[in-house]
Assembly symmetry: C2
Homo-oligomer: 333 residues x 2
DNA sequence: CGGAATCTTGCAACGCGTTGCAAAACGGGT
DNA sequence: ACCCGTTTTGCAACGCGTTGCAAGATTCCG
């Protein structure tokens, strides 16, 4: 038996509107009635029904948080930051797990049914068409960890993956490595493509630099390990790898060490993300730091801004990354 | 401009009720009108509003998923299983991150505002009073990874932590270790207490068994590492540790290896959980497997059953665990 | 073909809260 | 006490969909 506005109104001896106004920011209400209402409300344990309110205010403060990365440990940090950030602004995350899905239709439908105020697509592997589907359904959307562009279809917040690829190549070449390798995630992901493009472009500016390319079919430890094993079986002589993700790096390193190769003694590895685990003693992965807190903060800012102005023309924000030196590359000469 | 029931009704030339019934399972409607309505609906891109519906049906199919474990990688698997399991039953998880909170009041309020149909508290570190607060607010609740009991306050699904403690002790003693150690999580957590109780009880049945006890102040790598470092600094001669969590085990192992102790050569370690990472090549943690899929499946079953019968008397389900042999204990003599 | 049984349908009221509007209450100045 | 300008208040309609009820349409049967 839920207690409603009406019960409170009766007990306080005022009209329903008065009670409503008592719980509405900035509504006109006298101190006296407010006191009466508040007493009645606490006595009855009244809690306003957001969903009924949303019918007239047309705002639910519900945000769809859509992701398909439930196997990359870095996403636990990401969910932590997103949920805390949203809660701090009085928004509530409705989580959608896409792990088995590839078509946006079902999640669009689900989020429309719940009248979410906005959607955050948090994934570096979903194609940009996925986020577009939400926009087409009239939902404000921001693609976090997507591919920044000059004239994006939807709001994007992420990093310059091409620049990261170049940074990785410059770093490796600066350490005197000559035969480089790129170990990417799923080949179709734009992030993979961009990181590779930057890496290759920078490498090609340095004559005498060799290049090997491999793809893992997921951003996971096993996929990284398997891909590296395949490389080794094929007789790889690569001196240093740029892996498109930390968890891929860890899988690759485990394959290298199993093959009695020392990292960084025989082969160097640089990752990307700087997940928490990369800093663990004993892991000590040299990697390119992706500024999660800033990206997520900006994504939430954008979605919050769209609540007020849904038609805001999409823009693209890109945050700078930097190399975090740990223990999987040899020292500069 | 959202399209509503009314628009569809007008376009199809029928009443609003007819349209409503068309989207209601098992309502009486003729094939002819159904066809008319469905055509109009797809033409307009109509999507029923769950929230408005919930006003009369008193069911939102929203489930609050409450947790404070956003730093233990195993929880990514847990969220994956929960979100998929809920979605498969047509339920939607509203995620509440308690990382900074200790009082239930705010989350209770938040979930009441959204009229969630039920709440799953997924945490092994929250006191049982936390889950009780939801029950007291009239919300069906199940505490996953809580402490099973004979007459629980709320529904509980978990493991028999005392039995796990005993199992760990039996395993270590069976390998011929004589000086044992327990490295627990936060001392106040009931899981820590129970695992320790079982471990000590079993150890005490074997005369000549030594015992050291340490607590980490969180279920995290760093906390485990720090606690183990403190033990080593104090001159620990423990031969084998039971760590109350895998991520604690990893921290402990890193401290041991930094101190030039080999695992399992000099010191044995057994963890608890069997997180994905425990099976990674190069990690190979011997551990007690906690059957996540079953626990989560059962939790969802319980919460789903409570949707129909909210007054169901609370019960407690406990799933058996088993030792997973990998590489951090020496072989049996 | 008539009448009873069964389906379908629309009406109107309801779920919970919000809000424009006009009436009522209040405050201040003379 | 009176008048005028502000607040404050309640009424009533609305947001979107559901549902009990009774009337209308079908079907079935003899």
């Amino acid at each position: 038996m839920t207690v409603t506005l009406k019960h409170v109104a009766e007990r306080a001896g005022v009209s329903r509107s008065a009670v409503s106004r008592c719980f509405t920011e900035g509504a006109s209400i006298s101190g006296k009635t407010r006191a009466k209402v508040e007493r009645a409300a606490t006595e009855l344990g009244y809690c306003p029904n957001f969903l009924a309110r949303s019918l007239t205010t047309r705002s639910t403060r519900l945000i769809g948080l859509v992701s398909n990365n439930f196997h990359n440990p870095v996403f636990l940090q990401i969910f932590d930051l997103f949920t805390r950030g949203l809660q701090d602004r009085g928004l509530s995350p409705l989580l959608v797990n896409l792990s088995e899905e590839t078509a946006p239709a079902r999640s669009v439908q689900m989020l429309r049914q719940y009248s979410v105020d906005g959607v955050i697509v948090a994934s570096s592997t979903l194609p940009s068409g996925f986020a577009r589907a939400f926009r087409d359904a009239g939902l404000p959307v921001v693609h976090a960890f997507g591919r920044p562009a000059d004239r994006p279809d939807v709001h994007v917040v992420g990093i310059d993956n091409v620049a990261c690829g170049r940074m990785a190549a410059r770093t490796l070449i600066g350490r005197g490595y000559a035969r480089l390798g790129f170990l990417g995630g799923p080949e179709t992901a734009s992030t993979t493509q961009d990181r590779m493009a930057g890496f290759l472009a920078e490498a090609s500016r340095h004559p005498g630099t060799g290049m090997a390319i491999r793809f893992a079919d997921a951003y996971s430890f096993d996929a990284g390990r398997t891909a590296m094993q395949a490389g080794l079986a094929a007789g790889s002589t690569t001196e240093a790898w740029f892996c498109g993700d930390d968890v891929l790096s860890l899988g690759a390193i485990s394959a290298l060490r199993d093959a009695a190769l020392s990292v960084p003694g025989d082969v160097g590895v640089i990752g990307l993300n700087d997940m928490e685990m990369a800093g663990w003693a004993g892991v000590a992965l040299t990697t390119i730091h992706q500024p999660f807190a800033e990206i997520i903060g900006a994504s939430i800012d954008v979605v919050a801004a769209m609540l007020d102005d849904p038609a805001r023309p999409p823009d693209s924000r890109s945050f700078p990354c930097r190399v975090i030196e740990r223990g999987t590359l040899r020292a500069p000469p």
